[in-house]
Subunit: 343 residues, 4 copies
Amino acid sequence: MYQLRPKPLAADVRASFLQKLEAWAQEFGGSWVPVKDDSQVLYFKGDAPQSALLALQQWPEVIAVVSENAPPFTVSEIANKRVVVQEAMFGAGAASIIAGPCSVEDYDSMLSIAQKLSNLGVRALRAGAFKPRTSPYAFQGLEEKGLEILSAVSKENGMAVVTEVLDPRDIEIVSQHAHMLQIGSRNMSNSALLKEVGQAGMPVLLKRGMASTIKEFLYAAEYVAVGGCEDILLCERGLRHFDPEVRNILDLSAVAILKQKTGLPVIVDPSHGTGRADIVPSMMCAAAAAGADGFLVEVHDKPQEAWSDANQAMSVDNFAQTLPRLDAVLSAFEKTFNPLLTK
Amino acid sequence: MYQLRPKPLAADVRASFLQKLEAWAQEFGGSWVPVKDDSQVLYFKGDAPQSALLALQQWPEVIAVVSENAPPFTVSEIANKRVVVQEAMFGAGAASIIAGPCSVEDYDSMLSIAQKLSNLGVRALRAGAFKPRTSPYAFQGLEEKGLEILSAVSKENGMAVVTEVLDPRDIEIVSQHAHMLQIGSRNMSNSALLKEVGQAGMPVLLKRGMASTIKEFLYAAEYVAVGGCEDILLCERGLRHFDPEVRNILDLSAVAILKQKTGLPVIVDPSHGTGRADIVPSMMCAAAAAGADGFLVEVHDKPQEAWSDANQAMSVDNFAQTLPRLDAVLSAFEKTFNPLLTK
Amino acid sequence: MYQLRPKPLAADVRASFLQKLEAWAQEFGGSWVPVKDDSQVLYFKGDAPQSALLALQQWPEVIAVVSENAPPFTVSEIANKRVVVQEAMFGAGAASIIAGPCSVEDYDSMLSIAQKLSNLGVRALRAGAFKPRTSPYAFQGLEEKGLEILSAVSKENGMAVVTEVLDPRDIEIVSQHAHMLQIGSRNMSNSALLKEVGQAGMPVLLKRGMASTIKEFLYAAEYVAVGGCEDILLCERGLRHFDPEVRNILDLSAVAILKQKTGLPVIVDPSHGTGRADIVPSMMCAAAAAGADGFLVEVHDKPQEAWSDANQAMSVDNFAQTLPRLDAVLSAFEKTFNPLLTK
Amino acid sequence: MYQLRPKPLAADVRASFLQKLEAWAQEFGGSWVPVKDDSQVLYFKGDAPQSALLALQQWPEVIAVVSENAPPFTVSEIANKRVVVQEAMFGAGAASIIAGPCSVEDYDSMLSIAQKLSNLGVRALRAGAFKPRTSPYAFQGLEEKGLEILSAVSKENGMAVVTEVLDPRDIEIVSQHAHMLQIGSRNMSNSALLKEVGQAGMPVLLKRGMASTIKEFLYAAEYVAVGGCEDILLCERGLRHFDPEVRNILDLSAVAILKQKTGLPVIVDPSHGTGRADIVPSMMCAAAAAGADGFLVEVHDKPQEAWSDANQAMSVDNFAQTLPRLDAVLSAFEKTFNPLLTK
């Protein structure tokens, strides 16, 4: 809805354009932020007077000069994107499930759950090694040891590893073990982390903040996209709510609206989104019918013994029973469930 | 989850029980609120000392003496209820649509939309004659004239009339024209109206308040049920929200939770629930997958000319296009769409 | 900000104007809603075409033809209003307290608390005789018997009675015993009740709905004002909230904003507004500093034995200890606390 | 309410205790998180069986073994804390104002506003050099250049510099120029940043998240405190809200509640808390009456020309006019406004 992706300039036109631009920027003591490398959408960071900016906008090579209130160009331009993480595929007609326990606990339990999920066709494994916790006294995750367990277990089962990164300084170590970097709800507005993760050269799973508007969510994705990453999964995971009946209120209208505003795939996390394993199956089906391209769910071998978030984790049996109905709903929307296609 | 419905007492036991009870009440200058006519669940309204109430609880005929914090007994006891309004059926495997414009405008436009909806299989017609409006200067509905239009039009098309009642003093006149009385969100906590509507001898469509918890919603239904009405449709219609992207946030987790707590049918109003006709089709399908037993939707011949709520009304064409997919989702959940069965 | 009050027409001009208007309305089969009896602000209810309405707006006697989106004229026009209920005064430099228990329990306890409050200078007594309760099994109030207790007790202590009315059919009986009619939060959007209470010829205490915007609150007041009542106290009483730490979140910014938008006095109910008696004193002082013209507080002789809302009722001692500091804050804002002035 | 601060152990008892503890930890392959250096409140990070942990709790030197659900010990133990930042003092009877523009714009405008504020008695200057913005295209702050301007301007006026840090890697550079590190709302749940800032050896201004509970806020403070910093200012700054009338809803009940749960000083930011400069004076006074120990306000030389947040910045004149009334309210609560005391 915002802007069509501009046609690329011919190489020589582009070179001369960038030269002119550099000179212009130098005159005003500013510089250009890379909105998109190959685009003529420009964001000038500096002190140029308004009149100069308006004049700039008249240059034939320039599509738009981005101002403070510029919309999230990049994510709006992306059309019908499929994000592929090893054998798990999301978007453009494909839907997959990322499943696993809340946190990595130990090798044996991780292996056990991964094998069961893999046998059910799950191609992406989730579990936290670095855990964002409300209390500093709550279990913070096994950190690097957890990453190693995840990595070993996923290799044995041919699954992709999706895990959270909390600190820009951890991106390197997490990237060595994971196939997709997760930004959690608590960090959706952590622009320092978003900028950095967008430059890591890996797909990113971005969760919506616990009280974020859709516009803020898209801008957070734009922070990642501006860094160069377009393999972004947007994840609705429930919003702060007044009714103690649920942990959060799951916003399925967001799925339909996000799909209108961007071609990025949208997935839903009904485990955090409701905090109740008993209604997770209903909410997975509802999300599918709302247009979701995938699911992030907590599944645990022995939910009641989980180290964190015990109430919201499904058992493997309940998870398995949900799949046929979920498949039926996805089929009604011409989606292929968990397709094993080559890129 | 609260209480099993007690087995009825034998007629003679019951008679003697009620006699004893009456004497007991008289002793303390109080009386019994009819929690359920045929039940031994008692609510005493009066000044009996706590010790007497505890002694009463020991009588063999008494299941429970209801206190201030008593759960919504009646609606919790109801199991797998089907509400039938003329040819429209909700619950116990049946799902129907109540459709129509926001408000009755005039005979011709009402007839036109009713015929189109009827041809698409819709068996219940909605439209406001008494309109609850934020501003006293906004159109308040055609009132009795509107009811007459609704009544005439629905007869010609064999449809049930569902319309809102705002004032206990209007129940009589509305009942003469309608087949189901609607209590709107603004009046979910209007206990005077709830008590009265429960005694009207008609099915009731009860909409959730705009910031009500599920518990409050069930208690509102209990007010209706205590009056004697068990033909209640619970309607989720969106909650107050911080994101201007939507008018309200539709709470589909409520559908799954309500279905656990009561056997009453649950329907969803995605028109008010989102305020955006463009995502109503997605939300109808999502509601079906969440377990909804029906839908309340605004459909208008010429949405942009509607006298109220123009942005959220679907066109007849969009509505028609939604039906096949909705049917597919309902089928995946073993529901019969709009069944024409006898009771 | 909306409209200045128009200058009244001379009597003869007015008569001929109304005659012309009547003829005009008859032509289109509609009628006039009395926006204000003496004003030339008109609201036409009927089927006149847009062109006729525009032509009407050109008549020299007409200030405005009110449409669907008309702002709350009447309450916006009111300037620096003082509402006087017996000896309690609110607004235009006066601030008073309405205090008492949540509900009328019995004559003796009511008398005891009233005497203590009266001795502390409180001139208005609150207590519910008709109680709006979430559960039909919760104590619904002593009803008429409660009104009689209230009336007797207040006479003995020279206090005004402020009590809630839930049903348009109860206005008559409540009016016989009370000096001010209260509309509770659950009924702020009950337009049938608002319209009727505005015609009762008594001052009205209007509480904000639990999730109402300021605009909706002002329109609710407008419903009352359109009925002829301009002695309206607006009461902020807390909004639905996600943090279980408090029962509601008290919106003190609403006090400052309401005072900009209307000259009606604004009072604050920190008892319901927080649900915690321990912070009520702080919130009374904060409300005063935000510009409040009065306070509605729950005070109980033995808070822990109250029949309803025990946690939020202050003891008489705590209430008494709050008054000197509250007085100091009011003085800093040139307000006279509880002034015993003649009208 | 949680735990009294334990009496310190004698030095020799402590030494032998720590030795025993170390051995115990080694046995289970874990380690101790420093809940408090000098305390016997222990948090064990490792795999010790529950039985061993229970046995440990019986040691005479041990007060408590902190578990997952441990309350925020450290911040609960702190009593009547005064935070001193150069000449600005907060808590224990002192109240100060931190004022300035939203962001550092240039040297001249910064100097001009600082001089005016300094002349009015403001001892702490705020302005963003690193700005957390929703959009990557919005002005992100002058960064290091901004810090240098802030530093220079504050030296000339004898004011403390309070400025935000967004990234753990920026703490060092920001610390060189600032006297107090601010953690903004968007980063209240950024545990990586909280941990690091608590170890920087500087006072910390911690703002509440936009939809955080009070409990979450206290745990965020605990993250900082566990790092060694007890000079923490808690700042209420408004919560996400459904009413477009304000940018956020200011939660003044939080001030009263926080003051009960911790002895840390609590300040209020009515500029972000309402987004409306016109009601900031009222809300400053209300905050003072609710018990606030200070204020964070946006003041700009020419509000309408501000580079960011123009609507919520007060002019210097309006700010100056607010001070006498604010002083009167603080006096009513035995607080000294902006005291120039020695530590």
